[in-house]
Amino acid sequence: MFRRLPDAAGAVVAITIDGLPFAARAGDSVAAALLLAGRMRTGATAVSGKPRAPYCGMGVCFECLVTIDGVESRQGCLVAVRDGMRIETQLEKAEPGT
């Protein structure tokens, strides 16, 4: 669904998403990398359990919460990818720390 702009440059950054390797580019946010990897569902609301995905892309809506290098519920749109980064989606309605 999402495609990289044809003139987008940047060195390849190797990350994993739920354990699977993905080649992101330097400058990608975690949220952008998830969408480019075709992940249209990255989380679930704590209230109803309904599916969620990156939405505003600018730190406001808190819909892109994912676990990054073991730290839960980080805003994927506000974190840039780094080589070796481990990203886990939060598809189950769950409390922090469980």
Partner: protein
């Protein structure tokens, strides 16, 4: 503006909006003169409790007044929903204050006992519960919780939606909402109030001061007194949304209908609501995680400070001017809890033209004593 308004309400926060709604229901033509978006706005910063258990020490009439509004809240929530389609998420499951030490629990019990020991206080139940009894209702409490107080009359609401619902209802009822109308002067001439603002002059047969702490400045313009303090600042932390774990509001912590946890009830002497004191946030967060240890892992997504609307003795002021007939003042800290009373009790009195004897205890005359030094 011309003299087309029967009543001008100065202040469009929860107190002014509730009174204006009640006035509009009586058929009056009402204008609300409000400041702009940058006004100090307790209606946007408050903790959203509809709270009874710890109110009224020092003014027994305040206890009954508060219980009356708490009892009328289901009607208010239902009527606002009928008029606007907005659910303000009023719940009244009862509420807690939790103690993290025996000394805190003893202090709480003493406060409750002193409230109930005052003459004329209506009977209502506040239970002091030990840890085991609390844990039956709040199973996630941490090991440091020794007990707490519980009152079945306590509840909470979505206060931002309440604020919005009032304004939607006001618009539907044809109330003129006039933003950027900060009031500079009020003149009483030939039975009419001429209200000067930077935007325009507004004329009305009656005027209701509902401008929070600014009532202190405005009251003097119409022969009233509203001794306020503009330095009672509180702070709130809000966590990310969490699965529902808390089915009762606490005086210091509650889970909203949208899953977030609000942590509040701090106090410091400060009047600037544009910043906050991190040391106070740290204490609030620490006490929250001692009460509910799983909150230690929750992200805080928002914090803010807000200056409480506070009279000098903490109790509401409802008064009418003798010098300028038709001028009224209403100020109180609990604009959420008392919203039902403001709509269903105070507004009809103002529409009729005089406050009833049953709110006489809230006259600012109680401040008319000589200072000892």
């Amino acid at each position: 503006m011309t003299g087309e308004h029967d009543i001008a309400v100065i202040g469009g926060g929860l107190v002014g909006a509730a009174i204006a709604w009640g006035l509009a229901r009586s058929g009056a033509r009402v204008a609300i003169l409000d400041e702009g978006d940058i006004a100090k706005r307790a209606s946007r910063g408050n903790f959203a409790l509809v709270w009874v258990q710890s109110k009224g020490l020092g003014l027994p009439e305040y206890v009954g007044w508060t219980i009356g509004s708490s009892d009328a809240w289901p009607r208010l929530a239902a009527e606002l929903k009928d008029e606007t389609g907005l659910d303000v998420c009023f719940e009244r499951p009862g509420g807690f204050a939790l103690a993290l030490s025996d000394a805190e629990l003893a202090a709480r019990a003493s406060t409750i006992e002193r409230i109930h020991g005052q003459p004329g206080v209506p009977k209502f139940a506040v239970e002091i519960l030990d840890r085991g009894a609390v844990a039956k209702m709040l199973p996630r409490i941490g090991p440091e919780v020794v007990g707490g107080s519980y009152c079945a009359l306590d509840g909470h609401v979505n206060a931002l939606r309440l604020f919005r619902a009032f304004h939607v209802a006001l618009a539907r009822r044809g109330v003129d909402y006039l933003p950027s109308h900060a009031v500079q002067a009020i003149h009483h001439e030939g039975g009419t109030f001429r209200i000067g603002t930077r935007a325009s002059e507004v004329f009305a047969g009656k005027v209701v001061l509902a401008a929070g702490n600014a009532n202190m400045r405005l009251a003097a313009m119409v022969g009233l007194a509203a001794p306020m303090r503009d330095n009672h600042r509180g702070q709130i932390l809000v966590t990310q949304r969490l699965p529902r774990f808390l089915h009762y509001p606490l005086v210091t912590l509650r889970q909203t209908d949208e899953g977030t946890v609000m942590i509040g009830d701090s106090y410091e002497e400060a009047s600037d609501d544009r910043g906050l004191t991190l040391a106070i946030s740290a204490v609030e967060a620490d006490r929250a995680r001692r009460m509910f240890p799983h909150l230690a892992n929750a992200n805080v997504v928002r914090t803010w400070s807000c200056v409480r609307v506070m009279t000098q003795d903490g109790f509401p002021i409802y008064d009418q001017s003798e010098a300028c007939a038709g001028a009224f003042v209403a100020c109180c800290h609990s604009g959420v809890t008392l919203a039902a009373n403001h709509a269903y009790q105070i507004a009809p009195m103002i529409a009729r033209g005089a406050l009833d004897a049953r709110v006489a205890a809230f006259s600012a005359r109680r401040f008319d004593v000589q200072k000892a030094a």
